[in-house]
Amino acid sequence: MEYEAVIGLETHVQLKTLSKMWCGCANEFGAEPNTNVCPICLGMPGVLPVANEEALRLTALTGLLLNGRITPFAKFDRKNYFYPDASKNYQVTQYDQPSTLGGFVEFELNGGMGRVEITRAHLEEDVGKSTHFDRFSGVDFNRAGVPLLEIVSEPVITSPDMAYEYLNALKEILVYGGISDCDMEKGMVRCDVNISVRPVGQKELGAKIEIKNMNSFSGVRHALEYEIPRQIGVVSKGGKLSQETRRWDDVTGMTETMRSKEQAHDYRYFPEPDLMPFVPDEPYIASIKACVVELPLARKQRFMRDYQLPASDAQTFVWDVPLGGYFESAAKASKSPKAVANWVINNLRARLTETKTTLAEIKFPPAALAELIDLVDSGKISSRIAQDVFAEMFNTGEAPAVIVQKKGLLQVSDTGAIEKFCDEAIAANPKSAEDFRAGKVAALNFLKGQVMKLSKGKANTNLIGEILEKKLKA
């Protein structure tokens, strides 16, 4: 019998806010233990939470970025459990009425497309961090109360690769939308994996096994690569799996039982009485909608389609959004978007880096770049001269046509003039002429260069070749 895996992911992401979820403490990684704390995030007697509006906004925005919807009524609940890193011994989260519902993430997978439906994205608080020493343990509460977004996928993932690509696509979207920095090294993204196996064709799901607290995407992939065959191995030998929570051990590359269903927590959720429900109005939702950016994959596909760019160029403009924006302004004014992309990626970007200039500080308008390319395409200047004109544009901001005019850089396509330069070059380099005639094609290039030099770079390259060959073969 053949078996298939059914995988769902719960991805926890720290939101990019200045302050924590319920208090004014800094949301900052790497500070000395217990320095970004106050009575509120330490759960001292008498304190109350006040919801961070930016965290609520980022949550709603995430819903839209993941193609989901903002719910008309969201509330917070208390999830009760005792653990030393939980300062109140309950976690405030959104249980049955989260801020967002639904959606999907699309991504490239094995040369085709993959898609994972999203159940919900809800807001909660992070907990502190325990450290265990020889004879005691310590808790750092700097992380306690950091806003944490939990993105729950539908159980539609079927392979370790699919899980991996989904997670990368999700991360890309969240970084893109300014939701989270998703810095894995700083623990900003953590995953719980739900996995079961069943015979292909069977409708109902097998026993759900959860692997908790994975902190890298490759870890998720490795754990699945181990866990799926393990589960199939058990059931295909007639064994029975039961619901449990397992732990992934990065060192041994194996999962092991953490707790069985019987030991599962009863979290005793109930509505958080210290916070009011969140009921977004139309202007609020409109303001969130205004912040929805184009998703990375859609942007890549659009750049490839609308500007006929190769995937690598399109990807460059996905990662560098302002540069992509600049490219679009120039490309819209040009007949050769690919040439524009080359100029932007190869010349402009390099120049900006060299001179430590920002896009906003560029002295010429994007349309001037299109104009420059036009001068080359129409044969008015050579590509060699175009480099000089570009450098001048960059320094002074003058229009390319003006620079060409002022410096007399128009390409020479006057056959008579070029013939004269060719004669001079052949006369001055008899050895090269001889070599060419003897069959050394490379010698022609040397002569072409000499002609170009004589013309001060202005001679039309194509004409030089034609005339030289004609003269040498005569």
Partner: protein, 488 residues
């Protein structure tokens, strides 16, 4: 001539403003009174004499600087229930689990009292974590009723009530989750006000049941209630459940006649087990209100019978989560164990008293998987019905009048082994918290033998404190009970 500690907060503030008395004299008068009688009354768990006097001296300097005109409580000593956070003072909730804990911050109410010029002092005894009706659940000692030292002062804010009744302070602050201000105020013969939920910030109040808790005052008369309410009310950015409703001039609202105001008498509150003299006192008070021009209407609050059951599900459920933070990890008592679970068990086992444990267990149970719908969810629905009962009634009437308690103060030990009997002493006060409305208890006479105070409860619309205070004030001014002092 009354001594300074006997004056109402308003009278004392006026005397200080006119420089007829100093804040230092007033504070010393209170401290002397405490030294003299608190050995018997036992209202205070502790008090910081040096800090109180330092505040008094600062107040006197403020008076000299002309600040009295805009600081209505300048120099007035106000004592605080041990459930409110006061910076650099102990915060213990009369529990062993918080023994030695010092609060690093001021509750918003404390900040506001300080801004109004009050001298904030003392830690008043209470039932542990505000769970109880007699102060017998204090982990330290039982406060005594100043009218009869063998009797309890009520609870949970028993220390706050007794301290005001015994003139150990000008006024005090308490908290009311199911009657914890109104019931002890009635039993000690002072005025106790529970404002509308959301009227006063809860920031700095150690939570018992967050959706029911509200901070309020104990005062020697109704005009002081108006004075204190004005000082402590208003929206607070630190409390998301505080309501951005404007704060009227409550003192001004006391003036004028109550003619034509409609008062509802709920027929469901005429229960068996009510002391006949309590019924008689309330009836006399109602007659008095009628004489003053109020119209009396019989009304119905049909879900009254379910209030106690509803309360004893919701309040413990919230408490079970609110009290989870007392675990020995970060502050307070810790009894070590081999692992965190053992440390929790030992710490909480040793730190909490029996009533607190009872309610945590009850609350944990009603929230458990499989029981939630039958208990917690259903109780929330009943709560909505109870609130609706009141809102319907307030379409017809301006206020509702009931006894505050079914009986006068009982003897210490009389009900302490019978939690259900104890719970019944809050039977008239619980609905007000479930409905989130405001309520006040004003003295309405005495039991004849022994002479024990009785209280009249007036309930008002959400944010209708002005009307409530006006009625209470009119009644108080026309009744002979004001200014009677216990025979200490």
């Amino acid at each position: 001539m009354s001594t300074l500690n006997q004056l109402t907060a308003g009278e004392l503030a006026r005397a200080i403003r006119r420089k007829e008395a100093s804040a230092r004299q007033a504070t010393e008068a209170c401290l002397n009174r405490i030294r003299q009688i608190d050995g018997q009354v036992k209202a205070f768990l502790s008090y910081d004499e040096a800090d109180a006097l330092a505040q008094a001296d600062a107040a006197d300097r403020a008076v000299a600087a002309g600040e009295a005109a805009h600081r209505p409580l300048l120099g007035v000593p106000i004592a605080i229930k041990d459930v409110l956070a006061v910076r650099n003072q102990p915060l213990g909730c009369a529990s062993k689990i918080l023994e030695g804990y010092i609060s690093p911050f001021d509750a918003t109410v404390i900040t506001r009292l300080r801004e109004a010029g009050a001298i904030v002092f003392g830690r008043l005894n209470m039932d542990e974590f505000a769970m109880g009706s007699s102060t017998e659940n204090s982990a330290y000692f039982t406060t005594r009723n100043p009218w009869d030292l063998e009797r309890i002062p009520g609870g949970s804010s028993g220390g706050s009530a007794a301290a005001v009744a015994a003139d150990e302070c000008s006024a005090s602050i308490g908290s009311d989750t199911g009657g914890s201000i109104r019931q002890p105020a009635a039993l000690c013969g002072c005025v106790g006000l529970k404002p509308t939920y959301g009227r006063v910030s809860r920031y700095g109040l150690v939570a018992f049941a967050s959706s029911l808790d509200q901070i309020g005052s104990f005062t020697k008369d109704v005009s002081d209630s108006a004075l204190l309410l004005k000082a402590i009310s208003g929206v607070d950015p630190k409390d998301s459940t505080s309501v951005p409703e404007s704060v009227p001039d409550y003192a001004k609202a006391l003036e004028g006649s109550i003619k034509g105001m409609r008062i509802g008498l709920p027929k469901e509150y005429m229960i068996d087990g009510m002391h006949p003299e309590v019924s008689a006192a309330v009836k006399a008070a109602v007659d008095q209100l009628q004489k003053l021009g109020a119209d009396i209407v019989e009304i119905s609050l049909p879900h009254t019978d379910y209030a106690a059951a509803c309360y004893y599900i919701i309040a413990p459920a919230e408490a079970s989560a609110n009290l989870a933070r007392f675990d020995g990890v970060r502050y307070g008592k810790r009894v070590d164990g081999a692992d965190p679970i053992e440390m929790y068990s030992r710490t909480r086992g040793a730190g909490f008293g029996p009533e607190v444990k009872r309610r945590i267990i009850l609350g944990t149970y009603v929230l458990s998987s499989g029981y939630y719908d039958a208990f917690y969810l259903r109780a929330q629905k009943v709560r909505t019905l109870i609130r609706q009962d009141f809102l319907n009634a307030f379409e017809k009437v301006d206020a509702i009048v009931t006894p505050t308690t079914p009986t006068a103060a009982f003897k210490a030990g009389e009900k302490s082994n019978d939690p259900l009997q104890m719970y019944l002493s809050d039977i008239f006060t619980i609905s007000c918290n479930l409905a989130g409305i405001c309520g006040i208890s004003v003295p309405c006479g005495f039991l004849k033998e022994p002479k024990l105070p009785l209280g009249l409860q007036i309930l008002g619309k959400p944010f209708g404190e002005a009307a409530l205070l006006k009625l209470a004030h009119a009644y108080e001014q026309s009744s002979p009970w004001r200014g009677q002092k216990p025979p200490l």
